[in-house]
């Protein structure tokens, strides 16, 4: 029984983990390209979940149309974040990263509140996209939606990682971040790179929200917690490292899935917070992070 309960927790945890990895990856993408931690990312995850309800359940759109629409809106949201909160802050103050924290917090909050105003603040229940009859693996009943989440999350993460590895994108990110002027001189359109990272991250986040919608009862107020969980994965795994985002996301997911099995479910967030602090105190750059971003030798304080 305990073993079954533990395994249930592990499966639930892995399902969440695949989503947190997705969110951490999109946060990392933006950090990697621009050095900005986008506080508004949680809003886009929430938007994905809310749209899954509004379009899929309320309007009854077919699932593919819903996915296409919310990915498009996620991309748009990412672009809006860049053009409204990040780009205008550049060169306006002594510390760009500092200002960008404030502007993205501002934008995220305003957007969350607007969603609450327009669509109401209640939690929406989205029915599972696949059958709810559990699949049995030995004695462990597994909800099929969890399998969908794990497969989709892992697939997307691998895809992003492949694209970055295969193309010169990793190096371009590094060059753009470390020495924007130098990168410009090398013929890299740094602005395009940064814009692209915001767009892709937006799409990925919305998709994560969509995939999670059947299991989290999303509301306009869940953005902060989702943003926190994505951040926790990134912080534990490592600063600006994609393998780090993966490892961190899995750790966060497992905690999130297993803690409620044995302890008061309300303890999940406090425990995660304590874990993040413990990791950062021991290794301020996270488990797999290096002093600089993307394994660069030069450390820079952001």
């Amino acid at each position: 029984m305990t073993f079954t309960a533990l395994m249930l927790g592990v499966v639930t945890g892995l399902a969440f983990a695949s989503m947190f990895v997705l969110i951490s990856t999109s946060l990392t993408l933006v950090v990697a390209a621009s050095g900005v931690f986008n506080f508004a990312q949680g809003t886009l995850v929430m938007a994905g979940a809310v749209l899954a309800y509004l379009l899929g359940v309320n309007l009854g759109w077919p699932i593919l149309a819903v996915v296409a629409a919310l990915v498009g809106i996620g991309v748009l949201g990412g672009l809006i974040t860049y053009f409204v909160a990040v780009w205008p802050a550049m060169g306006r103050s002594r510390s760009f990263a500092h200002t960008a924290i404030l502007t993205t917090i501002g934008l995220g909050t305003a957007a969350n509140a607007l969603v609450a105003l327009v669509f109401g603040g209640e939690a929406w229940v989205v029915p599972s996209y696949v059958t709810d009859t559990p699949v049995h693996a030995g004695s462990v009943p597994i909800r099929p939606i969890y399998i969908v989440m794990i497969v989709a999350g892992a697939g997307l993460t691998i895809l992003v990682d492949r694209i970055i590895r295969r193309t010169a994108l990793g190096n371009i990110f590094r060059a753009t971040l470390e020495d924007p002027e130098g990168a410009l001189l090398m013929g890299i359109d740094t602005r395009k790179v940064v814009t692209l990272s915001f767009a892709v991250a937006g799409g990925l986040s919305a998709l994560a929200g969509f995939l999670m919608a059947p299991v989290i009862n999303a509301s306009a107020y869940s953005a902060q917690e989702l943003g926190f969980l994505g951040f926790a994965g990134m912080a534990i795994g490592g600063f600006g490292s994609f393998p780090g985002a993966l490892a961190g996301g899995v750790i966060v997911g497992l905690f999130y899935g297993i803690v409620p099995v044995f302890l008061d479910p309300h303890l999940a967030v406090p425990i995660l917070w304590a874990v993040v602090i413990a990791v950062l105190m021991l290794r301020p750059m996270g488990l797999l992070g290096t002093a600089g971003l993307f394994g660069s030798a030069r450390s820079r304080e952001i």
Binding site: P88, A89, L102, G106, A110, A235, P270, V276, L280, A297
Partner: protein, 632 residues
């Protein structure tokens, strides 16, 4: 802001002979002093106006909303201290307020403590919780720190739910008795006036604090962290002091809210409150006296208008933060002050007034001669590697007490790394450094600095908003006693220290030969060359035995270089040993007795300049000669 902190020193201005330029500045300073006085008068007026609130509203609900205003202002002023002045990105003030509020409520309802004990205990509990949440800041930096403190706000609600037996869980904690002091229940208006009194006290004392020696420490922590350590400031201690001082008013705010509404609910201490405080401080102007008040005013007005729990609040806050951070990157107050106070000064090129150095040199005490070792500095087998890259490979050299020694070598030979090892910023992998006969291994930077080692940096590290003289004063605060209470109350001791600080900095200012006209200008208006000279001033003001200069000539013109050379000779005459890393050979040859050549991590040659040069040094100089600019 930069000019505010000079009031304490203004008493001394008149013994300075005023040139025409500083005459103009004296006029400006008067207006600054006036604006400060005006600010104080306005603050008193504002508080008096607020004090009449009980006359405007008779309902206890209406009055409770004014108490909320006071509590939020308290918290914003607390946030401004840690974020605005000290530059620490702490976003956990709702947690401090919430814990204190719950502590007050629980001590009253569960334990039945009388308010006279419960009130201070709750403030204590809130402060302790705040310290716990902020503690990672001793190690974690930047937005990682912002995030973990901000997400602490998400951690409080589940904990409150878990402790429902005491906290009332999601329903909130009610049944708190009215505040009773000395046997009489306080009427609502008295509670409000008491809260207002606390606000006045906190605002006044924190303003004093930021203008005291601690104010220098805080701004150095924010703007020039390494320089702060190199002048002997203990950053960990400074951080802890700021954490405690920012937590106390926030905890007071929480306790006030509990006794005012006689109810504690978790919704009041959520992320929206953090946002309001953050927006208020950022919008108003972080690191200014009026910033949090000016910034909070529109937000509080909005909350009055749409109601505290309306979603329009969050929209307004979010947009306010977004627009405020972009339009007023330094806040409304900074923009106002730029308009009203600062004259349009173009960056000033140096035209040093040629003062006779020896006249002022005796203003400084000569370094002590009670030395045990004939060598001020002994470097023995120092090695340092980064990853697989061996930067220093067994560096050996000695430096005689009272000498001026030049450290030369090609780029990448490890000069800056060596300087960082000497000043303890880096720990050598092998070997050791002896300064004044004492092994420096394991000594933190600030402790080494206090033994009498000063240094400058390749990129000058200064508090940009501070004036030249204030930046020099920065070199003195580390040696002062902590005296936190005196700083908060602007007591006699603090004022005496401020006068002494100013006097000593003034004689150093004259010694280093900066033009009188830049004395009270913010250093951000100075040229790079002058900033380097200011750094030298900060390094020597505390009478070190040894100073380490990292490329002091870069960016100086011939005239300035000449004066710097003369200054270093004067310092030598006062018994200060000087180690200078520099590429400009003619400068080095004119001031040094000895040159140390560092090549790929090793000292390849040491030579006295008055003797024939050994082979490696000649080779290095020949190599460099074509690159050097022509020199008289």
């Amino acid at each position: 802001m930069n000019l505010q902190s000079q009031e304490a020193s203004s008493a001394l201005d008149f013994d300075v002979p005023l040139s025409s330029a500083s005459g103009r500045l004296a006029g400006l300073r008067m207006s600054v002093a006036n604006s400060r006085r005006l600010g104080t008068i306005l603050a008193v007026c504002l508080l008096c106006a607020l004090a009449t609130a009980p006359l405007l509203t008779s309902s206890s609900f209406g009055l409770a909303r004014f108490v909320v205003v006071v509590a939020y202002l308290l918290a914003a002023i607390a946030l401004n201290l840690v974020m605005g002045y000290a530059g620490e990105f702490v976003l956990a003030h709702p947690v401090i307020m919430g814990v204190a509020a719950y502590a007050a409520g629980i001590l009253d309802t569960v334990f039945g403590w009388p308010a006279a004990f419960a009130l201070p205990s709750a403030v204590l509990v809130g402060t302790a919780a705040g310290l716990l949440v902020m503690l990672p800041g001793l190690r974690v930096r930047g937005w990682y720190y912002a995030l973990i403190t901000m997400f602490a706000v998400l951690v409080l609600p589940p904990i409150v739910v878990i402790g429902a037996a005491w906290t009332g869980g999601e329903d909130g904690l009610s049944g708190i008795r009215p505040l009773t002091l000395f046997g009489t229940a306080l009427p609502d208006w008295a509670l409000f006036e008491m809260a207002l009194g606390m606000l006045a006290l906190v605002w006044w004392s924190l303003d004093n604090f930021t203008r005291s020696g601690w104010g220098y420490r805080l701004r150095a922590l924010r703007d020039a962290r390494q320089a702060a350590e190199a002048t002997g400031i203990n950053l960990t201690e400074t951080r802890l002091v700021v954490y405690v001082l920012t937590a106390i008013p926030a905890a007071m705010a929480g306790v006030i809210l509990t006794y005012s509404s006689r109810f504690v609910g978790i919704d009041a201490f959520g992320i929206n409150l953090m946002l309001m405080l953050l927006t208020g401080v950022v919008l108003g102007g972080p690191g200014t006296r009026w910033g949090p008040v000016v910034g909070m005013a529109p937000l509080l007005a909005l909350s009055f208008w749409v109601g505290p729990f309306s979603p329009y609040n969050a929209v307004g806050l979010g947009v306010g933060l977004l627009v405020g951070a972009i339009v007023f990157p330094d806040g409304i107050m900074a923009a106002l002050q730029r308009r009203l106070l600062r004259p349009n000064v173009a960056p000033i090129e140096s035209r040093p007034d040629l003062l006779e150095l020896s006249e002022v040199a005796d203003g400084l005490r000569a370094a002590s001669d009670s030395a045990t070792s004939p060598h001020i500095l002994r470097v023995s087998g120092v090695s340092k590697q980064f990853g697989g890259h061996h930067v220093l490979k067994g560096v050996e050299f000695e430096m005689r007490r009272g000498a001026v020694v030049g450290l030369v070598g090609p780029n990448g030979s490890g000069k800056s790394t060596l300087l960082n090892v000497l000043s303890s910023f880096l720990r050598p992998d092998a070997g050791f450094v002896e300064i004044n006969g004492a092994d420096t291994r394991g000594l933190p930077v600030f402790k080494l600095a206090r033994t009498g080692v000063g240094r400058t940096f390749q990129v000058p590290q200064l508090v940009e908003e501070f004036s030249t003289i204030e930046n020099i004063e920065l070199g003195l605060v580390a040696a002062e006693p902590r005296a936190i209470l005196s700083a908060l109350a602007s007591g006699k001791g603090e004022r005496r220290r401020a006068r002494r600080r100013h006097k000593q900095a003034l004689s150093t200012f004259r010694l280093i030969g900066l033009p009188e006209s830049v004395r009270n200008l913010p250093v951000e208006t100075l040229s790079l060359g002058l900033k380097r000279v200011v750094e030298v001033g900060r390094a020597i003001v505390g009478n070190p035995h040894l100073i380490l200069l990292d490329e002091p000539c870069a960016g100086l013109n011939d005239e300035e270089r000449h004066r710097l050379g003369k200054l270093l000779k004067t310092l030598q005459g006062m018994g200060i040993s000087v180690l200078v890393v520099e590429h400009n050979m003619s400068f080095l040859l004119s001031i040094c007795e000895e040159l140390v050549l560092l090549e790929s991590g090793k000292v390849t040659c040491t030579a006295r300049v008055d003797e024939p040069m050994p082979e490696p040094l000649v080779a290095y100089l020949n190599l460099r000669a074509p690159n050097e600019e022509a020199r008289p």
